[in-house]
Assembly symmetry: C2
Homo-oligomer: 369 residues x 2
């Protein structure tokens, strides 16, 4: 069982920005980073949320993630561009690149922006929602640290390579998916390891192709692509589009944000935005999508339920925005240890004795997210 506590969104944001200030990263880029990071917690994807902040702070401090960084265009031409991320925080680089893709889609109907020299960008879905807010379809692809074997292989040569896709919907909360192209996401495996729960079969294998059930052993083995050969094909497509095409490092050339403490990640991404209005009026598009979703929901067996991708995420979003973000005790402890090291007030119930002194520090809320 994992113990969790709800933390108010604004409070957690202020707390995170205070930490960034301590490593000289509480600038516009840092604020965009924190928005993206906390968005993951908001939608209930805590594996990519604030529990990663200590690792990010460490990398920023070591100069392995620049904040601010100075991304620049290696090439830019009508509907496409290639951006060098200047080893910035992946979230900021991703935000900039998707913003550029959106601008291009506004002009040309579709925009594609590739990125090299970036870092782990967190939750791909965040970038797709930048597009959906502009009535566009968003796609975000990234390669990542190689820990996946191809279909039929036993060595780690591909990342968990996330595939995120989203469309606008009513109340700004449309269909959205964001999947690791493995049976289980790497971050999920870490959570299994922390909780000491056995992995289901088919998630990971060792160098001889035998199943790994102990999540802590996955580091000595490999994860498997979802859906066998088909999932491998999609993972490979993502590796190609996000790195072979963009000039980013690929396969074993991508570095871990946790275990490699001397090199930047060198991840690559590809962002696509499609302006719906060029194809069909947006309101008609949303209506048609709703009809499709309702047909799909009605395909459930009696007394059963079919979920549209994103439904649970948006449910979490509304709930967490209102009631506070759910953080587990281990995350809270790590954040408070970090705060203590920087002589900052902590966060959460165990720190309620200092609410006034903490709240007295006013931080301007960035306009994003």
């Amino acid at each position: 069982m994992v113990c969790q506590e709800r933390i108010n969104y604004s409070e957690l944001k202020s707390f995170s920005l205070q930490l960034l200030k301590k490593v000289n990263a509480c600038n516009e880029q840092g604020k965009i980073f924190i928005n993206a990071l906390l968005w993951s917690d908001l939608v209930g994807r805590s594996t990519h949320g604030v529990w990663r902040l200590p690792a990010y702070i460490k990398r920023i401090e070591k100069g392995l993630m620049k904040c601010p960084c100075k991304p620049f265009f290696l090439s830019e031409n009508k509907a496409t561009a290639v951006m060098d991320g200047d080893q910035g925080i992946g979230h900021y680089v991703g935000y900039s690149a998707m913003s550029c893709a959106i601008e291009k889609a506004r002009t040309y109907g579709i925009g594609a922006v590739g990125v090299r020299n970036s870092n782990h960008f967190g939750t791909g879905a965040y970038y797709t929602t930048l597009a959906t807010r502009q009535n566009m379809i968003g796609i975000a692809l990234s390669n990542s640290l190689a820990k996946v074997a191809p279909y039929g292989g036993v060595k780690a040569v591909l990342g968990t390579n996330p595939f995120a896709f989203a469309i606008p919907g009513n109340n700004g909360q449309g269909m959205m998916f964001d999947m690791a192209t493995t049976v289980m996401a790497g971050s999920q495996v870490m959570k299994y390891a922390e909780a000491g729960i056995a992995l289901p079969e088919g998630v990971a294998i060792d160098g001889n192709g035998n199943p790994i059930r102990n999540a802590s052993d996955v580091n000595n083995g490999v994860l498997l692509p979802f859906g066998g050969a088909k999932g491998f094909g999609i993972s490979l497509m993502i590796e190609i589009l996000s790195s072979v095409l963009t000039g980013a490092n690929f396969s074993t050339g991508v570095n871990s944000m946790f275990t490699d403490t001397t090199h930047p990640g060198q991840n690559g991404h590809l962002f696509l935005a499609i302006d719906i209005e060029r194809f069909i009026p947006v309101d008609i598009f949303i209506q048609r999508a709703e009809i499709l979703f309702s047909t799909i929901r009605n395909s459930a067996a009696e007394n059963d339920k079919v979920l549209i991708p994103g439904e649970i995420r948006w449910h979490h979003y509304r709930e967490n925005r209102e009631k506070g973000l759910l953080l587990d005790k281990a995350t809270l402890k790590a954040l408070n240890t970090l705060a203590e090291n920087y002589m900052l007030p902590g966060i959460g119930q165990s720190n309620r004795q200092h609410p006034v002194s903490f709240r007295s520090e006013k931080i301007r809320t960035p306009s994003l997210g």
Copy 2:
């Protein structure tokens, strides 16, 4: 065991065009159709090859697939367009739309062309190779007859929705995949039914969610998406991009090319072309892809082999182009029955008594394929 016979490519093409002539469809569009149809057999994807010709001929004769059709643009604006396929043969409509996407990518770096009012377009990979021949990345998506349940559902509300992706490679034969987003393609299930082989578990379920093992019973049940919830997400994305976005019919609005003899298919497609040169020089791209593929191949266990998607297809292509296309006896029989009905000479060994009279009819070979 399936008995097969090799038929010379040019001979089969001439034979097919003769048949088209009998239904007044041996025009430029018909030739493009036959090129695309036979390409499927060339790459060993016979489920989408010439064995479907009798069904196509029937639909052309009934006016359910127009040949010639007059596709037109409902909207066209810089890098995007929406085409009305005018109920043409899907292969010709797809060819036209991908050609348009390629032209747009040449100008803008990326091109996206949506299609409504089309028919089953055969093998998506064919269209992606039109892009790769121009040093572009090609993506072809289509919806199809609803026979797939969503993850957690039991009714047919999605098509097998193929996802085709290809990149240029050495000798024009680069990495390429073309997957039904189901555990098994519908055409493959038909082949299981014909051969009377039991389906593996996890391929199809009945209305109560119980597995179907007899392939002939799949018509009373539903196919399952590959990779569970993740494959469902990808299938749904394809349904949205190819139909909700393009204005095409979707879900149960798509008609069968085999069992519905009164309505056109009303399929929708989306074609994307990405001009590699805007991102990275094409030769460098191909080199980088080769390095990645070689890393992936080397990830196999000792004495084992990992295949790059497309390898087997291109192997078949080279072999079948040289030695002739492999047709099974049932296909040959169906084709010869059709020829007989139209008082045309047959094809294959049982018809070798008329080679001269058959060959004396000269047909101009179209410049494509």
